[in-house]
Amino acid sequence: MNTAPTPTPSNAAPRQRKPIEIIHAGLKKRHAAEMRFRLYGLIAISMGILFIGILFTTILGNATTAFQQTRIKLDIVVDAQMLDPDGKRDPEVLSSANYGAIVKASMNRLFPDVTSRRDQRELNELVSQGATYTLREMVMADTDLLGRTVTLWVPADDDVDMLMKGHMDRDAAEENRRLKDNQLAWLDRLEKDGRLEKHFNVDFFTNGDSREPEIAGIWGGVVGTFYTLALTLLFSFPLGVAAAVYLEEFAPHNRWTDLIEVNINNLAAVPSIVFGLLGLAVFINFFGLPRSVPLVGSLVLTLLVLPTIIIASRAALKSVPPSIREAALGVGASPLQTVTLHVLPLALPGMLTGAIIGMAHALGETAPLLMIGMVAFIVDIPKGIFDPAAVLPVQIFLWADSPERAFVEKTSAAIVVLLAFLMVMNALAVILRKRFERRW
């Protein structure tokens, strides 16, 4: 910089600039680097938000229509002669009676001009099978209905529903449509008469699975999920916490405990389907537990989340300051008292968070459950942990696999429910944390 020869000693040569000048000269570069870093961060976050936004809008967009269901208003004459010929009100007779015929008759009465057999069949295709089940349930619950006329909004067939929701093109050539010209005409007439309307889809939340999309619901999956997760939590949390406490607070540090530690970390990385295979081999084939039941599902999921819970619990225990342990030991608390009275309460929020993260993981698991047969088509709502059940993600998988157009929106709606579950669980984790942490 300074070219003028100065007679200074060589080791103190270029000392013309003061430190503060050098700092100022470099400042611009430093700030630029910082700005750049912030920009990268912002870009990364915006990308994340963008993708989440796309995900949510598509799913919600697809799902909203599933919360509505097209229904047809029918005046049904509950023919006592036909349903209960002996008049004994015998439940067995009542349950096996031909309700379908009655529903068909009420539909035909609305369209007296439709006389040919073929046309009548096409007319009756507009009403869902579900109408029959609804009617049977109603009559079984209240036999006084026999002989009377009831006005019911029965579910329409899924094709009708798709038409009403704009998923079917009326202007397409007839052979490319699932509804024929005459059916469209009848529907228009029903709509004009105020007998065809979209209602809030209660069935979706209260029914079990079905082959008929218009009456398929998620309640079976929700109940199955509830049983499975509740059991999983019951098995995995105490086990995981006990293992973590032992390893962290009591176990000697030697080659064996090192080996165990490494293997717990390995287990956390094992593909979940392997746990399914293990469950199949051990719980079903060896112990002979039934297939498709929440009990076995929860045992498999316990294996799956146990490493997560152990690792999180150990981290929580490690984060308790050693000074607390010293304080307790210093007044003569035994190691167990130290842990249960001081360390564990302080580690609990972290352990709970770990457990809930593990549960959220288990909530979304499909693969291991497929291996133990929880992929079966199950219509009945499970009544206990030994009843065959489906869980929500498997339900989604099954519906996504179904050919009917109407299952597309059901799939999205079920995903929305699953996400809602997840959000509730995460909120729970936050609330629990806050509550426990407030006790300093």
Binding site: I324, A327, L329, G330, V331, A333, L341, W440
Partner: protein, 288 residues
């Protein structure tokens, strides 16, 4: 090897004017009266190893009744290590091994079969950094009596808590907020709370590891005052890096250096007329 730590040991230094030290720097055996009559604690040939590291060598020292003994020395010389032998807190450190005999009322408390739970009730400890439990002030003090079952009923427990807080000189400051968290107190109050927690189980000996190093001068003065009162009932063994503090509070002083106990004596003698050259170096600030 041991020469590396003190400055200029190769250069013969002219003795400072008025120097009383007569024992040369190279001598590692303890000088002074390590024994007292009727000791509360008597240590015979105590050695501590951290793994392969020999942290303190062959310590022989008595702690007398109703006395405050100060352990001083440059950092890393093994004061804390020695202190923690007396209530077996070194047991909690992985790889730490304590050898030798530590006698209390004729019983070797360093024996493997001795139960540390009652021992730590007899020998309480106050740590360098105040470490109250994240619980209420009351619970902090009540913890010891509760786990040892010292109180008969609630009223008794309350009484113990109150007297302990009074003895620790904290009562007037906290009597209206016993249910508030102990961690919300000031540093000095927290340390006095820890002292109250320790004396609530009525120990015979209280170990204090630099109890004032995190405190301001006023809080320090309060704790020193408190120690003088506690001395009437307890023996206190205090590690301090402040020579002034050692001089103010203790009756006897032990000087450690690189794991050796160099000199023990009456505090006044140590500070006015040290016998060992290293002691003199340290108290005159030549190293440390």
């Amino acid at each position: 090897m041991n020469k590396t730590s003190f400055v200029d040991s190769s250069v013969k230094m002219a003795p400072v004017a008025g120097s009383t030290a007569t024992v040369s720097r190279d001598k590692r055996e303890t000088v002074g009266d390590i024994r007292v009559d009727h000791p509360r604690v008597r240590c015979n040939n105590v050695n501590v190893y951290y793994g392969d590291k020999h942290a303190i060598h062959n310590i022989n020292l008595d702690v007398g009744n109703n006395e405050i003994i100060a352990l001083i020395g440059p950092s890393g010389c093994g004061k804390t290590t020695f202190l923690r032998c007396l209530n077996r807190m070194n047991d909690t450190i992985k790889g730490c091994r304590v050898e030798g005999e530590i006698l209390m009322e004729g019983q070797n408390i360093n024996a493997r079969e001795v139960d540390v739970v009652p021992l730590r009730a007899r020998v309480g400890m106050v740590f360098q950094k105040p470490n109250p439990f994240p619980k209420s002030i009351f619970e902090n003090v009540a913890f010891g009596p509760r786990i040892h079952g010292l109180a008969q009923g609630k009223a008794d427990l309350e009484e113990i808590v109150v007297t302990s807080l009074q003895k620790a000189g904290l009562w007037t400051e906290v009597k209206d907020r016993l249910e508030e968290p102990g961690t919300g107190l000031s540093g000095g109050q927290q340390q006095r709370l820890c002292i109250a927690r320790t004396i609530a189980v009525q120990p015979e000996v209280i170990l204090m590891d630099e109890p004032c190093s995190a405190l301001d001068p006023i809080a320090t003065a309060k704790i020193e005052e408190l120690m003088a009162e506690l001395r009437e009932q307890y023996s206190i063994c205090i590690v301090t890096h402040s020579m002034q503090q050692a001089a103010r509070v203790s009756q006897r002083t032990a000087f450690f250096h690189l794991g050796d106990l160099i000199e023990v004596g009456e505090t006044e003698q140590i500070f006015v007329a040290p016998t060992h050259q290293l002691t003199e170096d340290y108290i005159t600030g030549r190293f440390g």
